[in-house]
């Protein structure tokens, strides 16, 4: 089935959910509301004519300052037996940064959603184990948001500071007097500044 046909079918089935259909380089993205996303995706997964059983990719995008609704969660779906695909883009506003989890449809969505939560701060309702995954637990902020600075804001991760402190405490002797306090600034850093 052609992707535009699939988009049409979605529109017929969920007329109040579909906001827009975008085509780019032959690939079709259907922009939908997040309210009935699980129902929509389950229908796409179960419907015998569509049978989109392979969740190729799930990720979030931050459209800070570009669009009215800040976040989008993007589902790239593919049907292995029928060989067609479609992209579903669910809008997630910043003030209600939450969307239902699709782990009940695809087991593999588990880690995708954890990554999305970790890096973009989008919460997935009903997710069995929503923790940070790529970043350590004590990390502040969500790096893939557009307002997160590339250099991390010049602050160390709290866990790293703890390790430094501990190493200072455990250091009992200094044989050659060459030890340098890593928390103090070295000449190299001064030069860079």
């Amino acid at each position: 089935m052609e992707p535009l046909e699939i988009a049409k079918k979605i529109k017929e089935r969920f007329p109040d959910q579909v906001i827009d259909v975008e085509e780019h380089r032959g690939q079709v993205g259907v922009i939908v509301k997040k309210d009935r996303i699980v129902e929509l995706l389950r229908w796409l997964h179960d419907d015998p004519a569509l049978h989109l059983n392979h969740l190729a990719d799930l990720c979030g995008v931050d459209y800070l300052g570009k669009k009215d609704v800040r976040f989008e969660v993007v589902y790239n779906l593919y049907s292995i037996p029928l060989r067609h695909g479609i992209r579903i883009r669910a809008q997630v506003p910043e003030d209600d940064c939450q969307i239902e989890s699709v782990t009940s449809i695809w087991m593999g969505a588990d880690w995708h959603e954890r990554e999305c939560y970790d890096l973009l701060g989008i919460t997935f309702g009903g997710h069995p184990d929503l923790r940070r995954i790529l970043l350590p637990d004590g990390w502040e902020g969500h790096p893939l948001r557009k307002d997160y600075p590339l250099d991390g804001g010049g602050k160390n991760w709290s866990g790293y500071d703890k390790v430094l402190e501990r190493s200072k405490k455990l250091r009992k002797y200094d044989f050659y007097g060459t030890y340098q306090d890593p928390t103090k600034k070295t000449g190299i850093e001064d030069a860079r500044e």
């Binding site: 780019h24 993205g29 995008v61 993007v74 087991m107 593999g108 880690w111 995708h112 970043l135």
Partner: protein, 407 residues
């Protein structure tokens, strides 16, 4: 397996007297293929719960890519699956070409298909080596490295690097292949099937190998699709899904090859799939060499980086596209708003790139769908109820690289 289930119930019902033994496998462990950490809850030798922890190698490639031009991100893809970086280069290039709508010359397509299959061989050889070593057959390890070394030397010949190749570029490949390279590669392909046979004589019909791999880590076809497994790991379960056939790219429509399919979905089937794939890759490489057309190796209108050699100003290490020191040629109307998702079949599975462009020379958002990440996510499903030694076999059979997983 029945006995294990009985033990599982025993623990759940009587937790006060029977405490599971927790063991942290990794991040430094000989069999976790990098910095993967598995928190195992054991009852004797049976795994009750397996929780993978990743992220030790997270370098923020996606965030970096949002601040680099398309051509500058290419070397970062070498660092994803660093044991078959050619395949990542190709996957990244075809994604960007789709986004910018660039038509690649035919010769470049053939060369790319060739190097991608070479990368698949290097990846599968390393997989076989480590998988066999994990199960205890140490000789296979060195036999595989013997052939892998030849392939890496050939990579060095065409691009100067053995591991971090950065060979392809947007719109083609960086350098043309030489006659000597093609000859030595052809000689290699003539020899290689006998080498595969050599590995197989060591382990294929070995009773201990069969005992260790058959009926271990079974995953059904539905579960495999639901878990998002791809590549040989999925095909071992009997699902016919290969990006090279489903969404052909480069020269794959022009070459003949078969996609090996397993039936049961155990470790042995996944092993057989990869062994057969090596034969197929070998044949694809031969077909590419035989059918290699002449012509240009790069699209003329593709964006690329140009270092202004004339200027005396010292180029800082962090010079970027935006600072103006490195320029893009053909900074043209190709950059338009839109998004694409393009996948390629790398040795590990489906490596997909999702690009969102806002009409500038840098991607607005790049997401990497890395097969290793999904496969590690599936480990807790696969390892439940198995024994400690099986966990090692399963990690080997799903074939993960942590550089790709953590990005």
């Amino acid at each position: 397996m029945l006995e294990n289930k009985a033990q599982l119930r025993l623990v759940k019902g009587d937790e006060a007297t029977h405490e599971p033994y927790t063991i942290a496998m990794g991040p430094q462990h000989p069999a976790t293929h990098g910095v993967l950490k598995l928190d195992l809850e054991l009852d004797g030798e049976t795994v009750l719960e397996c929780k993978p922890t990743v992220g030790f190698l997270h370098r923020g490639v996606e965030k970096l890519a949002e601040n680099l031009s398309y051509a500058q991100t290419l070397p970062l893809t070498d660092r994803l699956d660093y044991i078959a970086s050619m395949a990542n280069n190709v996957a990244y290039s075809i994604a960007v070409e789709k986004l910018l709508d660039i038509e690649v010359p035919l010769r470049a397509k053939y060369i790319r298909t060739m190097v991608m299959e070479m990368a698949r061989l290097t990846g599968h050889l390393l997989w076989l080596a480590t998988h066999a070593l994990d199960i205890g057959a140490m000789t296979v390890f060195l036999y595989c490295f013997r052939e892998r070394e030849i392939l890496l030397d050939m990579f060095e010949e065409i691009c100067g690097a053995r591991l971090t190749t950065s060979y392809t570029c947007i719109g083609g490949v960086r350098q043309d292949v030489t006659g000597h390279f093609l000859e030595s590669l052809y000689d290699f392909t003539e020899d290689f099937p006998s080498k595969i046979k050599e590995y197989e004589t060591l382990i294929d019909k070995n009773r201990i190998w069969l005992k260790r791999t058959q009926d271990v880590g079974i995953v059904s076809a539905e579960d495999a699709v639901s878990l998002g497994l791809t590549g040989p790991t999925l095909r071992g379960s009997g699902v016919d899904y290969d990006v090279r056939k489903h969404m052909p790219y480069d020269a794959y429509p022009y070459v003949k090859f078969e996609v090996p399919i397993g039936s049961k979905g155990d470790v042995y089937d996944r092993y057989r799939c990869r062994m057969e794939e090596m034969h197929q890759s070998n044949s694809i490489i031969r077909q590419c060499i035989e059918a290699l057309p002449t012509g240009p190796i790069r699209a003329a209108d593709a964006p690329d980086l140009v270092m202004p050699y004339g200027i005396q100003k010292k180029v800082a290490a962090d010079a970027t596209f935006s600072s103006g020191i490195i320029k893009l040629v053909k900074d043209s109307e190709r950059y338009i708003e839109g998004d694409v998702y393009v996948a390629a079949e790398v040795p590990k599975g489906e490596l997909g790139f999702y690009f969102v462009s806002d009409g500038k020379g840098v991607p607005y958002r790049m997401h990497i769908r890395s097969p290793s990440y999904i496969h590690i996510g599936a480990l807790s499903f696969l390892c439940k109820g198995q024994m400690v030694a099986d966990v090692i076999a399963i990690i080997g059979s799903v074939d993960v690289v942590l550089g790709e997983c953590d990005r």
